[in-house]
């Protein structure tokens, strides 16, 4: 049996290359869409937490609670209302990113040195200018780290969205499991791991470039004042 059903059959891969490529594209799309929507929702929640400080613990607890819902259950529960649609896949995926992203935004803003914001206020910048021109740019490195974690996690979770008929590479894996035919299973698994690694590496490069002010080393501490 393993002679005719090896882990990887290249002829099958070649024949099915269009399906495989389409699955990769769908996987990437779903991942990016999730992260973009997640960032938008997290942005709104963070804004609420900033505006009304007392809402902050509640938002923290709610996003953490969302994260604890088992994924298969979450996808499954939505099917009766939203069907086997992309929406059904996106709702849990976006929900799972929130705990990481909301915290990244708030932590990023929190770690801005108080003196910097104090100076911005003292010289006459308006609250909006201080947020957009000073605190947010300084929070970006922390937010990008959060995006990295959210993205890599989402690549993995997207495969599970196959159970609601979405999920890109997840569908190859599911197909392989159903038919006990290992090639699509192997291809789906390998490519989703590869995708996670590639995106992770992309973020590492981004993180290096995003804060040129902190990468540069002080020229000379000694010497003339």
């Amino acid at each position: 049996m393993s002679e005719r059903n090896p882990l990887l059959r290249w002829d099958y891969v070649v024949a099915q290359r269009h399906t495989i490529i389409a699955a990769v594209i769908e996987h990437v799309q779903l991942t990016l869409l999730t992260v973009v929507l997640g960032l938008a929702v997290a942005g709104v929640l963070a804004a609420v937490a900033l505006r009304w400080g007392r809402a902050r613990p509640t938002i923290g607890a709610a996003t953490a609670a969302l994260y604890t819902i088992p994924s298969v259950a979450f996808f499954g529960l939505l099917v009766p209302s939203t069907g086997l649609t992309r929406t059904t896949a996106l709702i849990p995926l976006v929900a799972y990113t929130l705990v990481v992203l909301v915290n990244a935004i708030l932590d990023g803003l929190d770690q801005v040195p108080p003196a910097v914001d104090e100076a911005a206020e003292a010289i006459g910048l308006s609250p909006l200018r201080r947020l957009l021109g000073v605190r947010l740019p300084l929070a970006v490195p922390v937010i990008v780290s959060g995006l990295r974690v959210a993205t890599v996690t989402t690549v993995g979770l997207v495969t599970l969205a196959a159970i609601v008929g979405q999920g890109g590479l997840g569908r190859l894996i599911l197909d392989g499991l159903r038919r006990a035919f290992w090639t699509p299973l192997t291809i789906g698994a390998l490519l989703s791991i590869l995708l996670a690694l590639v995106l992770d590496a992309a973020f590492v490069l981004l993180e290096r470039r995003i804060a040129p002010w902190s990468v540069r080393r002080p020229a000379s501490r000694a010497g003339a004042a």
Partner: protein
Amino acid sequence: MTDASRPAVQLLAVSKHFPDSVAPAVEHLTLAVPRGAVVALIGPSGCGKTTSLRLINRLIDPTSGHVEVDGRDTRQLDPIALRLGIGYVIQAVGLFPHRTIAQNIAVVPRALGWDRGRTRRRVSELAELVGLEQEQLGRFPDELSGGQQQRVGVARALAADPPILLMDEPFGAVDPVVRARLQQELLELQARVHKTIVLVTHDLDEALTVADRVALLDRGGRLAQYAEPDELLRAPAEEFVTEFLGPDRSLRRLALLTVDALQLRRGAAVAVGTSTHDARALLARDGGDWIGVLDDERFLGWVRGTALAGEGSVTEQGLEAPAALVGPRSTLRAAMDRIMTARTATAVVVDEGRFLGIVTLEDIRRALAERAG
């Protein structure tokens, strides 16, 4: 609006109680800052210096009393507009780490909507003014030394040419040598820009050197004394002031007063060519052992009375060079140091070679005593 006689900044019976503290941070503070003056706020840590400064540009509002800037109650002004019109150097410098030096300096002009060209010209002008290299303008704050960062902080505060400058321990984070230089440069800068400056410090020497008037605050923001530096040292208003100024008040005054503030005596001095007879007579009246020899207005040196025996005239030969020379802008402390280092009794005061007179330790002692009267 810019009535020269009206104070640039005025605090009128201002108190500030923070909700979560028992003692007031500032209590019934009344203080007028004259236009164009440098006023130092000084006092022990936690006495309300920073709070007083923050009350001026409405970073905080007073619990009672009111603040006037340019004769207008600040509560009637938009806080953002008020702050944009007042330069502020915060205690911790607080440069924007993600912005270059040029961008840091340009923040207020940009917020005021200046065009690029004008902003760029202003930035390079300020770099020059505060002593930064043009090539540093493209750097990030982390790449500069502490002293350079402080200069950037000052340049940022001066960017839109505000008439009033608030500085919270602007030189607190640098070593004493750099601090002394920055203080000197601030004085030179002030001579060019003529701002009204309120400067917070807890360094007494800094307050005495840079300020026209010193406001000494006691804990709880109570104003203990508000006076010119020499007056503060000469006549402390109360026990707390005396204690704060320390046991070496007279020495500090010596560092403040300059030689040209003394009534300079000509002493025993004769022109070259004077007869030894006349010189002896002069020395006898003066009661000293040495006589100065002048060529016109130039001080040539000293000659000992015993060398003036016999008939003839005073010549340039055999004169002893003056061991202690001081200029009219030297401090009395420097003059005293010169006299004692040279182990002599008299310093000769010359201004670009021109003889002005002599100073003795007794003159200095009398000057301190007279002014104390």
